[in-house]
Point group: C2
Chain length 387, copies 2
């Protein structure tokens, strides 16, 4: 991803963001930042108070679009002004972050969100005041910038931690390396934090669908039992709540390769919420849903009805605590769960059961029960999917 002299062959590793498409994208994003700056300069020239309009990122400004079946940001925005004591600092912080992102793009470099905080941190000239005291201040500013100029954080060349792995019949190009994801070793292909088309391209795909599981330990069960070979599918995991990188990759494989996405998650409020984020996006980052959500994703289990359906024993039960029940009730209230009778039944059944169940608990029946019986049975029978 670095700027390097002329190397672009696979064996040399990494051509990535030096490609023509990447350059065009970078130019477009840089142009958006310049546009913001020019607007500010223009106001100053006209002796008007420099300001920018920042869309509001809060539950109050998040709508569920039932037609597209994703969360969307509403039209509410706040004005951030320079000549306003309560806003001047944030105004300057926004410009500072924007200017560093512009540098990153120009230099064909990326930075972590923590790194960006350190890049931006310094004394405000002539004072003992710091531009930023804490990363808690800079992270929201990055998000403000994303929504203001309509560019994803990844397009601003800023990344977070990477998490998540993949195995299956797909050949992709990542940073110039052609990778056959059927033979990437026993932990699979490591999904990076930035999965934009200028970094990752799909070359060949023989998969029929994607199975997304919650944890790496479950993923390994599928890997070891060669589920991806036997069922010609891609198996992914996100080590819990999937990162933006993982979500973006799922969305892109779904869109560009027309692969259905099936989610295998724990039977608990956390599992329901992971599904909800994959499917329609998260509340905090509603503005990203249109590029990250997979509205057609199906939840195939573990369902509250599986205890009886699969003849499980009480060895798999984990008692619900107050927090679980509170969270389950919250989820029932989300507009995107409401009016979905099957989801209402599912969540109410969990509360009625009084227990939750982990995916790994299925192993109690037999080590390979999950991979040889449970999931094949679930995928065969659309009546068992929760949508």
């Amino acid at each position: 991803m670095a700027k390097r002299a002329g190397k672009s062959t696979d064996s040399a590793g990494g051509s990535g963001r030096s490609s023509a498409a990447a350059k065009a994208k970078a130019k477009e994003t840089a142009r958006k930042i310049e546009g913001l700056a020019e607007m500010i300069v223009e106001s100053a020239r006209k002796r008007k108070s420099p300001k920018m309009e920042i869309p509001i990122r809060a539950l109050s400004n998040v709508n569920f679009n039932p037609k597209k079946a994703i969360l969307e940001m509403g039209k509410a925005a706040q004005s951030r002004q320079f000549f306003d004591l309560s806003m001047a600092k944030k105004f300057m912080q926004t410009m500072l972050v924007a200017s560093h992102c512009k540098n990153l793009i120009d230099e064909e470099k990326t930075s972590s969100i923590r790194g960006l905080f350190y890049l931006c941190k310094h004394d405000v000239a002539g004072t003992k005041e710091k531009t930023f005291n804490d990363q808690d201040e800079s992270d929201p500013i990055i998000e403000d910038l994303e929504v203001t100029i309509d560019a994803l954080r990844e397009e601003l060349h800023v990344y977070a931690s990477n998490r998540g792995n993949l195995v299956g019949p797909i050949t992709l190009v990542d940073d110039g390396n052609t990778l056959d994801c059927m033979r990437m070793g026993s932990a699979g292909y490591a999904v990076p934090s930035i999965c934009e088309p200028d970094v990752i391209q799909f070359k060949k795909c023989g998969a029929k669908y994607i199975l997304h599981v919650e944890k790496d330990t479950v993923w390994r069960r599928f890997y070891e039992d060669r589920f991806h070979e036997k069922h010609r599918c891609i198996v992914t995991h996100g080590s819990g709540q999937p990162t933006r990188g993982m979500r973006r990759l799922l969305r892109r494989m779904h869109d560009e390769l027309k692969l259905p996405v099936y989610c295998l998650l724990d039977n608990d409020p956390w599992g329901y919420y992971i599904y909800s984020v994959i499917k329609q996006g998260s509340i905090n980052l509603a503005y990203e849903s249109r590029r990250m959500a997979v509205p057609q994703a199906k939840f195939i289990g573990v369902s509250s009805f599986d205890y009886e359906r699969c003849g499980l024993t009480d060895d798999v039960k984990i008692g619900l605590d107050d927090k679980d029940i509170k969270r389950a009730k919250q989820i029932l209230e989300y507009p995107w769960f409401q009016g979905k009778k099957h989801w209402e039944k599912e969540i109410r059944k969990m509360m009625q059961n009084g227990f939750k169940m982990e995916v790994e608990a299925m192993i109690n029946k037999r080590l390979t029960y999950l991979t040889e019986e449970y999931v094949p049975m679930k995928i065969r029978d659309p009546k068992q999917w929760l949508d």
Copy 2:
């Protein structure tokens, strides 16, 4: 890693534990479990109370071996008897875990520690009592089994989460897949939970040393700046405290490929402790040190003296809290830090500074300061290493 019919070519993916070496290793471990079982049966035949001797895994039984420079388990052991009300349950639990591990080995399968808990959990025949109520009960039993029969958890076919990535001029074979770690994409080669020789073999190595960094976000800085290319080295990270898999891989590359290991960690008690675990092992798992520790590993930074040495500004400072100070004092007390004047100076200097510093903070100077100046300077100058 699964048992499969005759496939062992690279393109088919996964031959792993089906190799001859793997089979021999599996046989040896299975034999150890059988040995334990035979001893119990023998006692019963002789009408003696069946018992086993379990080495004690506690600080009281951990010694620092100054000659080998690693932590070692002492000789203290406890007897676990069947005909003793206070021990009968643990005795049976140990046999149950052993028997499931034997099954895993025989079936050429592996299980997560959570999965093993579910495999072992059932009603005790004729009672309402469970064999295990919680994973907190089964995890220590696995460790008991490891020390009793002297087999690593990985050899018992039990894994935990995988974490950590690697990039650099090394070609290895993982589960039958030949992987050139110079071209594994922008998140690098994903290090699996089990890195034993029957799973991972080294094929070719052009690296001069290993640089181990604490976090994936720092790793990406090195990746992007092509540090591994420019300096012909392997760059690894463990996402914080490295897993057993990562530690085993570091040790094996150090031993088998004669590669020096340099650690780049945060300047805080947590960073010191990560170094200490890589170098001489952890207290809890002292019995593994002889196969996981790298006593020759060097700490190259961030050092408490770097603030002045590198001309940093107060932007990099994070104030120490009470917990940091308490932890620093604890670390000073560890026998393996004691008597090392340079470490004493290092830790005392941190307390005197009154602040800690993250590796990423170096970015405050310049985005590529870490990769282009700081680390090359550190590696060039052995006087700056902490040993």
